[in-house]
């Protein structure tokens, strides 16, 4: 009995350690602040005021800083994650929405939604290096893991634009479904996943040929197909799963990447938008814009375990591993 108890305690301790001190940073679009969630305690431990209409948020490679798009303040803010204070800004052009960091950690890309531009910023000198004209309402942004290509989607132009990171020029364009939102590269640089909100689909594009090789359409019992609006995408690092936030369908789709089949739908909060995995890939967090909360999903069980209330219209989520 004692041994069983001890083993039980060890197992609990182990699972706690896995996410002990992991912090999730949630941008609250309408509250102009960030909710900080301690994933061990499973609750909000702090709110950090930031600029107006915060949306895209990413962490730098050593996870000491967060870069936040303060869209209505027309700038990217730099948040020191140790002191939890804004320590600087980057020039971003007007209305930056999303943000992506080059693997070299030196260059940041941001989409300027109102001006149909992708801005390239050198972090060290805080200078805009280039502004690339893209389609109308650029949003989804991703840099290939090998750093060679940056892609951006244009929501009204319905395209994925492929840009050479050395020349900062568009080398190709792929037409996708209506209102493309998020883009994610696979770790091996071979494939690009793209969600189309109004098109209602997620496509997989072969990076070499720039052509669509697979399309996923989502059917959820009791949910009208027009409510299925894929937005955020996250890929598990082990190559096992892709998770897709389906917007007003209030579900996350789980796609098995080995079989390339949709495996499951998980019910989360209202208007699920973006998602992020903890470093050990054990937990998935989703931001639910309309219900103003974050859903926590246990990935090993594929079950939603908790909803945590945050601010108004949570948009982006970035998770920092415990330091």
């Amino acid at each position: 009995m004692k041994i069983k108890l001890l083993v039980g305690l060890l197992i609990i301790a182990q699972s706690c350690l896995a996410t002990a001190g992991d912090l999730a940073y949630i941008t609250n679009e309408k509250d102009d602040n960030i909710s900080v969630i301690d994933l061990q305690k499973q609750k909000v431990v702090k709110e950090i005021p930031v600029g107006q209409r915060p949306r895209g948020i990413i962490l730098n490679h050593d996870q000491s800083l967060a870069y936040i798009c303060a869209s209505d303040s027309d700038r990217i803010q730099i948040l020191d994650l140790n002191t939890e204070e804004i320590v600087g800004e980057l020039p971003s052009g007007e209305d930056p929405e999303t943000i992506a960091l080059h693997p070299n950690g030196k260059i940041i890309y941001t989409s300027n939604e109102d001006d149909a531009i992708l801005t390239v910023i050198d972090i060290a000198s805080s200078q805009v290096i280039a502004q690339i004209e893209v389609g109308v309402e650029p949003e989804g942004l991703a840099v290939s893991p090998d750093g060679k290509i940056v892609v951006v989607t244009s929501e009204t132009t319905n395209m994925v634009h492929w840009i050479d990171t050395k020349t900062n020029e568009i080398i190709a364009n792929t037409l996708v479904g209506a209102r493309p939102r998020s883009v994610q590269f696979t770790q091996d640089n071979q494939l690009l996943w793209v969600s189309s909100e109004i098109g209602g689909d997620v496509v997989v594009i072969d990076v070499a040929s720039k052509e669509i090789i697979k399309e996923f359409n989502f059917t959820i019992r009791g949910i009208h197909r027009d409510r299925v609006q894929p937005v955020g995408i996250v890929l598990s690092r082990d190559g096992q799963y892709t998770f897709v936030a389906l917007g007003p369908a209030n579900h996350v789709a789980v796609i098995n990447r080995k079989t390339m089949e949709i495996e499951k739908y998980l019910l989360v909060g209202r208007r699920v938008w973006q998602l992020a995995l903890t470093q050990d890939q054990s937990q998935l967090l989703t931001t639910n814009g309309i219900s103003g909360d974050v859903s926590v999903i246990d990935v090993s069980k594929m079950k939603v375990t908790k909803s945590i209330k945050v601010g108004r219209y949570p948009w982006g989520v970035a998770i920092r591993h415990s330091q």
């Binding site: 109102d114 149909a116 309402e137 132009t157």
Partner: protein, 398 residues
């Protein structure tokens, strides 16, 4: 380079040259496409109204079309497709018709029409059996969608029936079943009221009284005295519906009714295809682009014109063709999906050419609701609960 020695060599060079030219002309890059569209507007005589403070912009519609051209060209530059627009306005219907025919004879075949019912009918008669694309962006008459169909036309303006159905669904949802109907005495007001009565019947609302407004008093001074008396009825009502197309007296009804009740229709809660308060599904970005371009807010007519041009552009992007018959066929096909900042894909009804769309219910500074209301069911798409569904329309398929 050696001189060609004999005829055989020369023939070889000639054949190689011709082959090279043929190969390069069938290269991977197609020739750039230019698609031209023409905006034609007939001036409407201004209806006399008590207050002239709030006016509709004189370039309504045209600015929406201009923004749509700009957005289409942003995509088009990646696809080697270029969109151009020319615009003309007229005081006399005959002059508009003449210009339309001239343009068509010069090879222009896509027209955006901001013209009333009578002129649309004439255009439709002339346009039959021609390779032409016509869009009605401002006439909302129910006749065109039910019994007097225009075979050649696509409508991006919602019909009065769609708007009154949108309102009636909301009233049903809110259980505001007993309606006091007030209408002006002009033919346009009677038509508006008729559309609402049809919607009320469809959704089981009860019109407890219908009162024609015939006052000549200056409501800017007397609304607080006149309106309560006018709206005091023997039967109770939950809501007041006002049919006043020119907004002559409608804006004086809210807050002045005898029973404290919401006012809907031509004032209070209005049922529209577009309004400046619409923000969701990326609409905020469209609104911003528009106000940057024009220094005013985007209105319904602007938006309807925007949709017409974007429909053409979407067809061009997908078919990579400038042939009007190909574009027409694509727009009417099940593959056609228009993203229109309303949270769902839009398409045209096969039986009467009407663009299906959700309708916004707004007060002057806020969005109240959107129809179709949650819970209203339909076998194919709830968007078809607004306006004339296939079996309700005497229009055949195009």
């Amino acid at each position: 380079m050696t001189m060609l020695k004999n005829n055989e060599d020369k023939r070889l060079v000639l054949i190689s040259f011709i082959t090279f030219m043929l190969l390069t002309s069938f290269s991977a890059f197609s020739a750039p496409l230019t698609i031209h569209m023409t905006y034609l507007k007939l001036h409407k005589p201004h209806s006399p109204a008590l207050s002239n403070i709030i006016k509709m912009a004189s370039d309504s519609g045209y600015q929406g079309a201009k923004l749509a051209i700009a957005d289409s060209n942003t995509t088009g530059k990646f696809l080697q497709q270029n969109f151009t627009l020319s615009a003309y306005d007229f005081k006399k219907p005959q002059n508009l018709l003449t210009r339309l025919k001239e343009e068509f004879n010069q090879g222009k075949a896509i027209f955006i029409l901001d013209t009333p019912l009578s002129l649309l009918k004439k255009v439709d008669l002339w346009a039959q059996n021609k390779d032409i694309l016509l869009f009605n962006i401002s006439e909302s008459s129910n006749l065109l969608r039910s019994s007097q169909c225009l075979i050649t036309m696509l409508h991006t303006a919602p019909s009065q029936a769609m708007k009154s159905d949108a309102l009636a669904q909301w009233l049903l949802y809110k259980r505001l079943n007993k309606v006091l109907l007030i209408r002006g005495e002009k033919p346009a007001d009677i038509t508006l009221a008729k559309s609402f009565k049809r919607s009320a019947k469809r959704y089981g609302l009860k019109i407890i009284a219908e009162k024609p407004w015939s006052f000549n008093t200056d409501l800017r001074r007397n609304a607080q005295q006149e309106v309560p008396l006018f709206t005091q009825t023997s039967k109770e009502y939950d809501v007041v519906y006002v049919a006043d197309q020119a907004k002559d007296f409608a804006e004086y009804i809210p807050f002045n009714t005898y029973l404290p009740r919401p006012v809907v229709g031509s004032a209070g809660l209005e049922s529209l295809s577009w309004h400046r308060v619409i923000e969701q599904w990326g609409a905020a970005q469209l609104q911003t682009r528009f106000t940057k371009l024009t220094a005013r807010y985007m209105n319904e007519i602007d938006f309807n014109a925007y949709l017409a041009i974007r429909s053409v552009a979407q067809a061009v992007h997908k078919t990579n063709s400038a042939s009007v018959s190909a574009l027409n066929a694509y727009i009417k096909s099940p593959d056609f999906k228009l993203a229109a900042y309303k949270g769902r894909k839009l398409s045209f009804r096969a039986w009467n050419g009407q663009l299906r769309m959700p309708i916004a219910l707004v007060h002057p500074h806020g969005l109240v609701s959107q129809s179709p209301q949650a819970g209203i069911l339909h076998p194919k798409t709830e968007l078809d609960t607004l306006g004339f569904d296939q079996q309700e329309s005497r229009c055949g398929t195009n």
